[in-house]
């Protein structure tokens, strides 16, 4: 159809792909925390992101609060909501050996959230229009989206903070410890439930941050979240479960794959290739691109 594209196009694909992928990344970081501590595939993460987006929209429409500014409200509310969700829904299931129970509660929560949103806000597409909606900026001589760049920065900041928290703070280490052996952790004076609740709170707060990015960038509807959950899971596995930075990197890699496949192969194959790469990585490096293997008898 046309000749081999000039290098400019590769730059453009890479930059925009990476920015788009960071959205999956930030969702994946939240999942990674919840997955890491509770071994829970939290399928409702996407629905939580959309819920946050509706919340951002309500703040904007009713009180005129700028969506990016609303981070200072959304993140604390996300923390509180995550805490409550854990205490109310997952606390009991967390001690059960059968992890399908938590998985199903997450599914139930997803059904509930999606349909409550439909009841409250209707099922149609909703959007937030601000002065900077759909405005572009130049980075490295390439034109790209302002809101996506902001989303990328949010993802970067969120991931960085979570990493510092897990690696450097004792409470963060306690989160990882409890994720491994809840009984042993309790013998250290670590309250397992408090730790899980922290992980959940941070995870949902990240969903809130992602919700800000989504609300400013995309139109959305109550059911738009599931695809985010799926893509975030792919990103998570690409990066390596338990590796927070890996989750973000996984998201960015996924974004790049999608951009390149869309350009060179065609839009209808992006998902197949993305999942194919995901399977291949799982197969040849099950611990993810950034995880480290170990096994002991």
């Amino acid at each position: 159809m046309f000749d081999f594209p000039p290098p400019q196009i590769f730059l453009q694909l890479s930059l925009n792909g990476a920015l788009g992928g960071a959205m999956y990344g930030v969702a994946a970081v939240g999942l990674s925390l919840i997955f890491g501590t509770m071994r829970l595939i939290f399928l409702a993460q996407g629905a939580m992101i959309i819920l946050a987006a509706y919340f951002v929209r309500a703040l904007f429409q009713s009180f005129g609060i700028d969506p990016f500014l609303s981070l200072v409200i959304v993140v604390p509310v996300g923390l509180a909501a995550g805490w409550l969700i854990y205490q109310g829904l997952f606390r009991k299931a967390a001690v059960e050996e059968d992890r399908n129970i938590s998985l199903l509660i997450a599914v139930g929560l997803m059904f509930l959230a999606e349909n409550l949103m439909t009841v409250i806000w209707g099922g149609n597409t909703a959007g937030v229009v601000t002065s900077y909606t759909a405005s572009g900026i130049h980075i490295l001589g390439i034109r790209t989206s302002f809101t996506r760049t902001m989303g990328f920065l949010i993802a970067l900041a969120g991931t960085g903070l979570v990493m510092l928290f897990l690696r450097k703070t004792l409470v963060g280490k306690a989160v990882r410890a409890a994720s491994e052996d809840i009984t042993a952790a309790s013998l250290m004076g670590i309250s397992p439930h408090r730790v899980n609740a922290i992980a959940f709170a941070v995870g949902i707060a990240l969903a809130g941050a992602a919700g800000v990015a989504v609300a400013t960038t995309f139109p959305f509807n109550p059911f738009a979240g599931f695809i985010f959950s799926l893509k975030a899971l792919v990103a998570l596995a690409l990066g390596g479960i338990g590796s927070v930075a890996g989750a973000l990197a996984g998201g960015i890699i996924l974004g790049l794959i999608e951009a390149y496949v869309q350009f060179f192969v065609g839009g209808s194959w992006t998902n197949a290739v993305a999942y194919g790469v995901f399977l291949a990585v799982l197969m040849f490096k099950p611990e993810g691109l950034f995880g480290r293997p170990y096994k002991k008898a």
Partner: protein
């Protein structure tokens, strides 16, 4: 049932299509209220009131069947009105066929439905054949320098998208155009930058886009972010709703859109129905008329057949004409299909301006983003 006619309808009350489903439910309710106000449907010299029973299809193809089982077996309905998307209506029509209940359909592409040769359902809608010729007809009337040189086709990866896409390709050939880019589009794609880069690289100057509102809005926003604009942007399905304008504001200007109903149609009851909707929801709708007409046809057919028996209703619709619905006069052919004309409007300051057929609005090509 005795003393009344029970009409069942699977409707997307929940799930991703619930927004459209609510409009459909509203339109059916209006039609039923109106006929009951007129005393009901006359059968054998007696006027019987109509009762509407709905069941949720959960916006899912795989749940339509269960919804219909429920309507037919539990609610014991006499006859059926359709839900509102192509694939769901195929699934619904097949169940109706199994249980020999007449299923009156709107919104499903004839190319999906006709090959099934169903006996107990009828459909009125636009055909992608003539429907997809609309943009070319519009171009034909443009001054030569405004006609696109490098048009592109972007269609979503769904039965409707593929079917309509095939129609566009055929029409392009007929009118002597060639698509510089013809890309299928994954539903729910969040990042279209690669697609836009591709369109840009191919110097595209016109786009025909078939996709959901969310996907189309995302595409246009990202086109603006990346500074890419085409003079002629024509959308199907995603561009006609009020949400489209709400989510884009002034950026929706210049976009052309299809539609299968407009309250400004010169048909009996159209304006009145539009006003009623406006009064209740404070916005306009481009769908309720079609749904309302669907019920109008069915009620008339029952009256003509003097029964809700599927075979008799079949005979009353196939090869027959219906006058003065809110979508105008409908003439059903021997397959039970009636064609309605396609419409094209251009968004201008939040309103649909009728371009095709024979509207009085002149097409405005879109300038570059920074020149608007």
């Amino acid at each position: 049932a005795d003393g009344e006619i029970v009409v069942g309808a699977p409707i997307s009350l929940t799930g991703p299509l619930a927004g459209d489903g609510k409009e459909q439910e509203w339109a059916y309710q209006q039609a039923v209220a109106d006929i009951n106000k007129a005393g009901g449907i006359e059968i054998g010299g007696k006027k019987l009131p109509v009762k509407l029973v709905v069941a949720d299809d959960e916006s899912s193809e795989s749940k339509v069947a269960a919804a219909l089982e429920n309507l037919i077996k539990v609610q014991k309905v006499d006859i059926l009105l359709s839900t509102h998307s192509g694939p769901m209506n195929i699934a619904g029509a097949i169940v109706a066929e199994k249980y020999k209940k007449f299923y009156m359909i709107t919104t499903c592409f004839p190319f999906e439905w006709q090959p099934l040769k169903l006996k107990y359902s009828a459909l009125f809608f636009f055909h992608p054949g003539p429907g997809s010729e609309v943009p070319f007809e519009i171009w034909q009337k443009l001054p030569p320098e405004q006609r696109p040189k490098n048009p592109a086709l972007v269609t979503e990866d769904s039965p409707d998208g593929k079917g309509f896409g095939a129609g566009f390709v055929a029409a392009a050939e007929k009118y002597g155009y060639k698509f510089a880019v013809n890309d299928p589009w994954a539903i729910g794609a969040t990042d279209d930058s690669a697609l836009i880069t591709k369109l840009q690289a191919a110097n595209v100057d016109a786009m025909l886009v078939f996709g959901s509102p969310a996907d189309t809005i995302t595409l246009i926003r990202q086109m603006k972010e990346l500074g890419f604009s085409v003079p002629y942007f024509h959308g199907w399905k995603g561009t006609w709703t009020g949400e489209f304008h709400d989510a884009l504001g002034a950026d929706s200007d210049y976009v052309l859109t299809d539609g299968f109903w407009s309250e400004s149609f010169p048909y009996k009851g159209a304006k009145e129905l539009g006003e009623r909707y406006d009064k209740e929801f404070k916005k306009d709708s481009v769908t309720v008329g079609a749904f309302y007409a669907n019920a109008q046809v069915l009620f008339q057919a029952i009256e003509r057949a003097g029964s809700t028996d599927a075979d008799k209703v079949h005979d009353a619709i196939f090869n027959k004409e219906f006058k003065d619905t809110v979508v105008g006069d409908l003439k059903f052919d021997e397959t039970g299909f009636a064609l309605i004309p396609s419409v094209a409007t251009q968004w201008w300051q939040g309103r649909h301006q009728l371009i095709y057929p024979n509207g009085d609005w002149t097409y405005k090509p879109a300038p570059a983003w920074d020149k608007r």
